[in-house]
């Protein structure tokens, strides 16, 4: 039985194709973080370090759901450019930049970023850079559904400061 599971898992991991060096996706359904990272890791076997960040909907007070809106002609092309900028700036082996759109509930994954680099510091800095830009320089708009209905989320001053670190 144990052997059978092992067989399934290995094959499953091998089946998720990750584009190299950059895999940038806008997803309208949930995704498996384990498979994504296993696939990314397999795609960059020679990298010394892989750093990832997963952002999830927090069960915050009375927040029942969160919706992310995108604008087709801008959002994905902008994310692709962002990934290319990180790739060049930090000398990465590769990057994965996945963002959910649509309605999500607490505990669901919103964003997954992973970078592979020869050295740890570059992989770290690149994830930090990507997240700061996804949060405040990507064409995405967020609103929350609370007990009294939907509320648009305003950009936060802290997010703008985080972005300024890279300029």
């Amino acid at each position: 039985m144990a052997t059978r599971w092992r067989c399934c898992r290995r094959s499953a991991v091998a089946r998720l194709a990750i584009a190299e060096p950059l895999d940038v996706r806008l997803l309208d359904k949930g995704f498996s973080v384990g498979e994504a990272l296993a696939g990314f890791n397999a795609a960059h076997g020679a990298a010394g370090g892989v750093v990832s960040f997963l952002g999830k909907v927090r069960p915050d007070g009375d927040v029942k759901a969160l919706e992310l809106t995108h604008y087709e002609p801008l959002t994905l092309p902008g994310m692709q450019e962002l990934a290319e900028a990180a790739f060049a700036r930090f000398g990465l082996d590769g990057a994965l930049v996945w963002h959910r759109v649509g309605v999500m509930t607490p505990g669901e994954s919103i964003v997954l970023v992973a970078t592979a680099a020869r050295h740890r510091r570059d992989a770290f800095a690149a994830v930090d850079f990507l997240m700061d830009h996804l949060k405040s320089a990507s064409w995405l708009w967020k609103r929350e559904r609370r007990d009294d209905g939907w509320h648009w989320i305003e950009p936060r001053e802290d997010d703008r400061k985080d972005l300024a670190r890279w300029q």
């Binding site: 952002g55 992310l68 809106t69 604008y71 002609p73 801008l74 092309p77 963002h99 919103i110 964003v111 997240m131 996804l134 949060k135 405040s136 320089a137 990507s138 064409w139 995405l140 708009w141 967020k142 609103r143 648009w152 989320i153 305003e154 950009p155 936060r156 997010d159």
Partner: protein, 87 residues
């Protein structure tokens, strides 16, 4: 000619709809025309929002840096983009 205006983020709520289609029989629409059309056919708040530099403008998927000299052609898609809040 006809142009489509897409309202993103909270501008959807301001406009009360996700998008509008405006047609005109008097040639191309320029920027003051668009503001006027928004004021008369949608509402004051959207007309004000479209002039607020914090809200960006894209035409056919290209961000525009000089909105006041824009001239729209038939089939253009104009997007009104409020400050983002992603991640």
């Amino acid at each position: 000619m006809a142009v489509r205006v897409v309202y993103l983020g909270k501008l959807q709520d301001v406009a009360g709809r996700p998008e509008s289609e405006f047609s005109s029989s008097s040639g191309d629409l320029d920027w003051p025309d668009l503001v006027e059309v928004l004021r008369n056919h949608v509402n004051e708040d959207v007309a004000d929002a479209v002039c607020d530099p914090r809200n960006k403008i894209a035409v056919n998927g290209q961000i525009q840096s000089d909105r006041e000299s824009l001239v729209f052609k038939h089939g253009d898609e104009v997007a009104l983009l409020p400050p983002v809040s992603g991640g």
